[in-house]
């Protein structure tokens, strides 16, 4: 029961983008740890701004 509710909560957070920054940090660590020129991850505010701009670049809603 509790784990079910937890899973639903995770799904809602993921769907809404509430945990997008956490995902980004995880991804960043995985994808870039071996890069020659390591760039530190973006701050939460900066990441969020870019994330939103990118999300609305293109057809994202229809009739």
């Amino acid at each position: 029961m509790v784990s079910g509710l937890k899973a639903i909560w995770q799904l809602i957070r993921r769907l809404s983008g509430d945990d997008a920054y956490g995902q980004y940090l995880k991804n960043h660590a995985q994808l870039h740890h071996a890069d020659v020129e390591y760039h530190p991850p973006l701050s939460k505010a900066e990441f969020f701004k870019q994330w939103q701009d990118r999300k609305w670049n293109g057809i994202k809603r229809c009739c």
Partner: protein
Amino acid sequence: MNKLLQNAIWVFVSVLGASAVGGIAFNRGENINALWFIAAALCVYAIAYRFYAAWIAVTVLGVDETRATPAERLEDGRDFVPTHKWVVFGHHFAAIAGPGPLVGPTLAAQFGYLPGTLWLLFGAVLGGCVQDMVTLFLSVRRDARTLGQMARDELGPIGGTAAAIGTFIIMIILIAVLGLVVVNAMKHSPWATFTVSATIPIAMIVGVYMRFIRPGEVLEGSLLGVVLLLLSVAGGRYIDGHETLRLWFDHEGLTLAWWVMAYGFAAAILPVWLLLAPRDYLSTYMKLGTISLLAVAIILLQPDVKMPAVTAFIDGTGPIFGGKLFPFVFITIACGAISGFHSLIASGTTPKLLGNERDIRMIGYGAMLLESFVAVMAMIAATVLDPGVFFAINSSAGVVGADAADAVAKISSWGYPVSVEQMQNLARQMGEATLFARTGGAPSLAVGMASIFGSAFGEGLLALWYHFAIMFEAIFILTTLDAGTRVGRMMLQDILGTVWPKMAQTAWTPSVVFSSALVVSGWGYFLYIGVIDPNGGVNILWPLFGIANQMLAAIALCVATGILVKSGKLRYAWVTGLPLAWLVIITSTAAWQKIASDDIRIGFFAAANDLTDKLAAGVLPPAKAAIAPQLVFNLHFDAWLTLFFVSLLWLIVLDMLRMCLRYLTGKPVLPLTESAYSTCRFHEDWMRD
């Protein structure tokens, strides 16, 4: 034993589905319970999903769960991100399901509940879902390329250009018709106008909250927004009751149309975090919440559908829009049955998130089934109203007369009794001055939803429910409107960039302002002609939108059919070829009638000539005579536009057939652009996200 049980369950679902479809199809003269619609829909969807969709996925497309998707191969943590299937499903559904499936069925209910419902069910499982799923599959196999790119790569430059032009124009018409729906819902309704206007500052508050106060806290910000939205619905009642304040929000359609245009322009040039993104959060939650609530209410309440199965208006004399059952029911209901717009989401956007090909059926086919279900609920909400009330709300003054007594007499003479007192009572209950001639579909849907919600969750709050429903429709109409204007602006900047490269810089202010203004004037023009049209405008704009949307669907199905043939799957090409043929038949017939019909309520030229004659004879009232030259110009313009749509459609169909013929006779064609196989890391369920 397990197998036997499964078979038994599917036999049961088939029998239940067949009885439910049969029940709603053959019921005559008596009210029928809405649960039959729900049962019919769920059974048809279940069978189609389990058997037809699975067969297409495995046999026709050959989805391969061991094959890496673009999200995995090109993963960059930004655009390409393999994502859990339910999250992809949520994003995909939120993107495809807009106001279209709510408005179309409401308008098509003038033919009775049956034609629209059957087309929603069978159009979706054989057409719309197939289009969405196949397009998704093809884009996944082509590095998540867009429909336009695939058309260019696989069919050639003609197909590519047609897809690009088609996409741009359909966007313009779509925004205009949606704008008209909102304007009609707000016209002379201070309460609705206040609530809808309040969504703008509320979105901005949420935007500022998420950007500066608590960056990235999406759920917190959205919760704040939803609470404010509900307060604004309640606050509208106060405004409506206040003698001075109500005047600020009491406007003519034309004034509101100018405001909607100003809003669209502002939304296209303001930063996305301030308006577009937060508004989209709110509209998505409102949409999902309200639709679930409606489903629960229908199941709890089990209302009776009062509209007859088929009305006399199948002969083309309907008050909401002119035209016979065939082809106009198929044009009026695009979204919910088959919508070309979806192919723009299914290609380019969703494939960048899809972690494994095996989920293509669930996301492509499944999400469209859910949209079709939303449309069936809209049909229920429209048809639980007394037919007399339904027609009184949706018939324009130009058709039934501006005087309430004339209108009820005319509507009652059709065999749908309604009285002035009944309409006045209803308007008072809903907190509106009048409900006569509130065309566009939104008010009648809101009355339907309010009566369902009211009966299920408390009768005393009808006015609140009504304005909640209006707010719910308006908020995501405006989301489509502002997102569409912005995308249109960027497309235009791209096009202008080919002439003068500096115009393509999406951050260069003069280019942004110029192209936004151009896009807004594009849809603003159609919105304007819709608002000044004495017959309510929906009669003109909605069929144009339907034809454009079906044309885009035909383009997507052309790409799909062409690729199936080129892949040596000629014997399965009917899977997309048959829906394509049907769309070509209905759009061509509808376009032909809109151009050539002698009936002034259908044919654009006939209406223009009629108006010219009346103007020359001096029989028009002065107000109408003043705008008559403009109306005549508009009608001519609409006719040429329809001709353009149908020519574009035939051009791409013939281009596709030419390519297929060349392939089948062994002549060279453009090569398939499917990307090479590489092995998927995530093919075990537990490995995925």
